[in-house]
């Protein structure tokens, strides 16, 4: 229709100016009349029975409106297993679990009221690791597990603390090991991390007078929340309004309900006043975390590096409530043998309850954990066989037409392209091991390589509408949330492209379930692919309607009508008209046009519960390969990363700048996981470093130059060929760092993060 002019351009983000000037309005900035402030009393114990709760002193404090405990609100929630109470019901299962909630006229009063609540606990011995949880003598943290409502994904095992057991059975691994020249088995560990959104969690709930529950929250999936709250509070969906103001980061930590139910419950009792909860940074660390994972991986290879068989057993510490843990375990499970052609694969992944804070989605959905295991492991195998890490990958990587480990026939596979392009950028020649530079005084410099793949989720629906207002300005409505990844810019660009108007004429609305149509979730790097398709289809639908009106005015066929720079061109005369001129001429009194678009694909399949086989479990795949150039100081254990080369297959870059920024962000997050980030716990299950003083994210002084390489292997179903991107760059960083450390100093690390202290210990053990 129009020329491909805007697709691929590195246009400035549509929300850049409002963000850098501080004009952007976040949930915590909203100024609602009469708002009450909430605070939660949380459990100091990881596992305890609640003997009694006395709220009388809190209630008598001036300014306190409501104090609630588990006695006041029943019902369970949870996206995979409905196992979680709004407020603790007789038992607390993690330190930090909400026990009581207060609404008061000020935050200060709410905090004082919380201090006046008297809870008597009977402490129980907490289960803090997956090993403890799987011991035959471990208490069952959820005795009602079998009776809970649950999704089909949650393959729970009766009489255990396992809330999902995911399996792949493909070929015969024992036969594969027997046919191998070399078999290696190792165990890798990833500790719990935190998402570290710039904005701490904030939610406001109000029961409006017409019976609507209105929630303003920094959640990344409004429709998930709408349905969960409607179910919990027994309301029709169309009476639950979720409004998402500007979001200050998500990274998976905001897909499912967390503190919202308790605030809604307070709002039910506040006499139509809005109730707000804004968490402190310290509280935010307890709200939700990433999974810890232990992966035992065994691989058999031929001398030439051909992978014959691979087996993984992974244990995921999901904490006190399942949240989306079972799905994380499944979706990372079916990719966890890595992006390689392997005939014989056996995967057992276990999602395990413990008495630790709840773990949820985290940028990559478990893929960074399994990538750490399978990439470090492959680098070790390459080393043992005397092969170059690049060479062994090029030999085994999955390519177009190959079958995945679930039996999917793969298309548009950019894995090899990513490896080749990143190697070229870093000047790493296949078949040559990276050189080690001795910098003196115990410092060595070298390169390291790793790659990764990631599926998205199933073909879930996303809808969009594009409204062309008569004078030619355009509104895009989509509920996929721009949490900083830049989806609004992508949607504006696509709508402008399809309608032949400048991007500046497009406004992308904030998600609001009363206005913007259904979207499954903002997760799984699906915003550009599914949201992009929906917006593209909606804009095309809108354009077709505009073209019909224009054809009426021009007396031509609608297909012959075109628009450029916001003007509609008469195919016969070449004269240009404003949208308003045409729409007004076509319909007396004028008209707006509403285009509708969906992204929904047929043919999605599940995965067989016993074999993990399924031909179409994911709408698309993402691929990433990275090379890290670093220096390691064997006298102090410190690392200095000089540069990271990061290639990602984006299918087609809709916005080049955005893609580069997504890679920068993902690599930075991956570098934190690699080097410095770890939630540490005491022996009572309490987080020791729930602040930025002690939880070490990478600062701008630590992050090296990152060379982003956009590989474009177009996807047949993606908008303009685009795939997703956001999550894939996180995973390869840590194993590439470990490979560089191994190449530079000859030590093999199996547990993250690679802190100076841990590296120094490894050097010592190695006799360096």
């Amino acid at each position: 229709m129009t020329k491909d002019t805007l697709i691929g351009k590195g246009l400035l983000r549509v929300d850049a100016a409002e963000k850098v000037t501080g004009m952007a309005e976040y949930t915590g900035d909203l100024d609602l009349a009469g708002v009450l402030e909430a605070e939660m009393l949380t459990s100091p114990y990881a596992y305890a029975r609640i003997r009694s709760i006395d709220v009388s002193r809190a209630l008598s404090l001036d300014g306190v409106i409501e104090v609630m405990t588990g006695n006041d609100i029943k019902g369970l929630y949870g996206p995979m297993v409905k196992d979680r109470p709004v407020l603790a019901q007789g038992v607390v299962r993690f330190a930090g679990e909400p026990v009581a909630a207060v609404a008061a006229t000020s935050k200060q009063i709410a905090k004082r009221a919380v201090e006046l609540i008297d809870v008597q606990y009977e402490q129980l011995k907490p289960v803090l690791t997956h090993e403890e949880a799987l011991s035959p003598t471990a208490p069952l943290l959820h005795e009602g597990l079998m009776d809970y409502e649950k999704e089909i994904t949650a393959n729970v095992i009766a009489g255990t603390n396992i809330c999902n057991h995911f399996k792949i059975r493909k070929g015969d691994v024992e036969k594969g090991f027997a046919e191998s020249d070399y078999v290696l088995e190792e165990t890798y560990e990833v500790p719990r991390n935190h998402h570290v959104c710039l904005e701490t969690y904030s939610v406001i709930a109000q029961f409006e007078k017409e019976g609507t529950l209105h929630l303003w929250t920094c959640n990344q999936s409004p429709y998930v929340l709408q349905r969960a709250l409607a179910a919990l509070f027994n309301m029709p969906w169309n009476k639950v309004r979720i409004t998402i103001p500007t979001l200050g980061g998500g990274f998976g930590s905001r897909v499912y309900p967390s503190v919202e139910p308790a605030i809604v419950a307070l709002a039910q009792r506040s006499g139509h006043k809005p109730v707000r909860l804004t968490l402190s940074r310290e509280q935010d660390f307890y709200r939700i975390t990433n999974h810890g994972c232990t992966a035992t991986i065994k691989t058999g290879v031929r001398k030439d590096g051909t992978i014959m068989a691979r087996q993984l057993v992974t244990y995921w510490d999901t904490g006190a409530y399942a949240d989306c843990g079972p799905l994380v375990v499944r979706n990372s499970g079916f990719t966890s043998a890595g992006p390689y052609r392997i005939e014989n694969v056996k995967i057992d992944a276990y999602c395990v309850y413990t008495n630790r804070p709840v773990a949820t989605a985290f940028r990559g959905y478990g893929i960074p954990h399994v990538t750490w295991a399978y990439e470090c492991h492959l680098n070790r195998i390459a080393h043992e066989l005397g092969l170059d890490p690049l060479e062994i990958r090029l030999k085994n990587v999955i390519q177009d037409g190959d079958r995945s480990h679930t039996g999917e026939k793969m298309v548009a596979v950019g894995m090899k392209d990513c490896l080749e392009q990143v190697a070229k950028a870093a000047n790493w020649k296949p078949g040559t091991k990276p050189a080690v530079v001795d910098l003196g005084d115990g410092r060595y410099r070298s390169l390291g390589l790793a790659c990764s793949w990631k599926g998205t989720m199933r073909h879930h629906a996303t809808s969009a509408t594009v409204r062309v207002l008569e004078e030619g300005s355009v509104e895009v409505n989509c509920s996929n949330v721009d949490m900083g990844q830049g989806s609004s810019t992508i949607y504006a660009q696509i709508a402008a492209e399809e309608l032949g108007i400048p991007v500046e004429q497009v406004t992308v609305r904030h998600p609001d379930t009363f206005i913007t149509p259904y979207d499954r979730t903002t997760s799984a790097s699906r915003g550009t692919f599914h949201g992009g398709n929906a917006v593209m289809n909606a804009a095309r639908d809108a354009w077709q309607q505009v073209a019909v009106y224009a054809a009426k005015v021009f007396r031509c066929h609608p297909d012959d009508v075109k628009a450029e720079n916001g003007l509609i061109i008469d195919p016969e005369t070449g004269h240009k008209y404003a949208f308003g001129d045409i729409l007004n001429k076509a319909v007396i009194g004028g008209v707006d046009v509403i285009g509708r678009g969906n992204s929904y694909m047929e043919g999605g399949t599940g995965l067989d519960r016993e074999t993990g086989q399924g031909a179409n479990p994911t709408s698309f795949w993402m691929y990433a390969a990275q090379i890290v150039d670093l220096e390691v100081d064997t006298r102090t254990g410190q690392t200095t990363v000089h540069k990271i080369f990061a290639a990602s297959d984006v299918g087609r870059a809709i916005n080049e700048t955005n893609c580069v920024q997504q890679i920068h962000g993902g690599v930075t997050m991956g570098l934190g996981i690699a080097l410095s980030e770890e939630l540490t716990f005491d022996d009572k299950g309490r987080i020791l470093n729930n602040n930025f003083h002690d939880y070490k994210i990478q600062t701008c002084m630590d992050v090296p130059p990152i060379e982003a390489i956009l590989v474009e292997v177009p996807h047949p179903l993606g908008p303009y060929g685009a795939k997703g991107l956001g999550e894939a760059p996180v995973g390869p960083v840590a194993p590439a760092v470990a490979d560089a450390v191994a190449n530079a100093a000859g030590i093999w690390i199996r547990r993250l993060p690679m802190t100076p202290e841990r590296l120094l210990e490894a050097f010592r053990k190695d006799g360096k």
């Binding site: 102090t636 309490r686 070490k696």
Partner: protein, 305 residues
């Protein structure tokens, strides 16, 4: 409670504009332990988390004569207690003649913290890993104080009494720091932390030395994070004095410094790790300071530029 911010306790806030007013204020609130506020980068954090809850907060920023960095007539450098950390890193005298203090200032926190935080606050807070502490110890500086009962000059070596304990009496404030400037000496500060910014040192080493024809003449070595207070590595100093600046001597000095340390295990690092890196930091600081001796010849007599 594990994840709860306690309600901020009520407190009085006063901002005296003279020492006379401060005297009167302290007399009026006798019995209260004032929390002194300058940059606020330590006090406000402690009040927010409930680690400190002073009933009386006295803002020192209204007091006169506590700002600036000046050369004294006796050749010393005076730094006002309210001088910000950033003002240290841009000061020409400090940059050219007190390199270790420049390095310590430059590697403290972030721009925001350096713009707020003051040298007086950094010292009074009493942390053994404070960036300015080990350098001032190696420089043999003096801390100048005031209290209603009079002024004191406290040699830095006797300023730190224990973990977070200083020689300051209740109500006493730091007014400034005096640093002797010596021709021919060079210095270096090495800090080790898991990050390159926004980090407190796991351990640090500060060295001031002078050299004559390859022989170390005078050397002072101070360590942060090596014990409950900043520590001098006196046996390492004694060992190096009069010895040639050779690699083996530097290594030996590092070992001696570690043997004088008594670090603790904290959430940031274990005692063992600190003991492993202290000799490396000491050795590397000495080496950097020695390297700067080569530059001194050309810069000899170089005044504020």
């Amino acid at each position: 409670m594990v994840n709860k911010m306690p309600a901020l306790k009520p407190f009085l806030y006063e901002r005296p504009s003279s020492l006379e007013q401060l005297t009167a204020l302290l007399a009026d609130h006798a019995g209260m332990v004032p929390g002194y506020l300058s940059g606020g980068t330590d006090l406000l954090v402690a009040m927010r988390t409930g680690k400190d809850s002073p009933e009386l907060v006295v803002d020192l920023k209204g007091l006169p004569n506590l700002r600036g960095i000046n050369r004294c007539e006796d050749g010393k450098l005076w730094i006002g207690a309210l001088a910000t950390i950033h003002s240290l890193e841009v000061n020409k005298t400090i940059r050219s003649q007190i390199t270790l203090l420049f390095e310590a200032a430059q590697s403290l926190g972030s721009w925001q913290v350096r713009n707020r935080g003051t040298i007086g606050g950094n010292l009074a807070n009493g942390a053994p890993t404070a960036n300015t502490a080990a350098p001032l110890l190696a420089l043999d500086a003096e801390i100048l104080t005031w209290s209603p009962v009079g002024k004191r000059r406290i040699p830095v070596a006797s300023f730190w009494l224990g973990a977070r304990k200083t020689a300051l009496h209740t109500g006493e404030i730091i007014t400034g720091v005096e640093i002797p400037l010596k021709q021919g000496s060079s210095s270096a500060y090495t800090k080790l932390g898991p990050r390159k910014a926004m980090d407190i040192a796991i351990a640090s080493a500060a060295v001031v030395l002078s050299l004559d024809r390859g022989i170390i003449q005078e050397v002072r070595i101070a360590m942060g994070g090596a014990g409950p207070t900043p520590l001098r590595a006196r046996s390492a100093e004694a060992y190096l004095t009069g010895r040639p600046a050779l690699a083996e001597n530097l290594i030996q000095a590092g070992k001696l410094a570690a043997s004088e340390s008594n670090p603790r295990t904290s959430t940031r690092a274990t005692r063992e790790y600190r003991l492993s890196v202290i000799p490396v930091l000491v050795e590397r600081s000495i080496r950097s300071a020695l390297k700067r001796q080569e530059g001194l010849v050309e810069e000899n007599g170089g005044e504020d530029r």
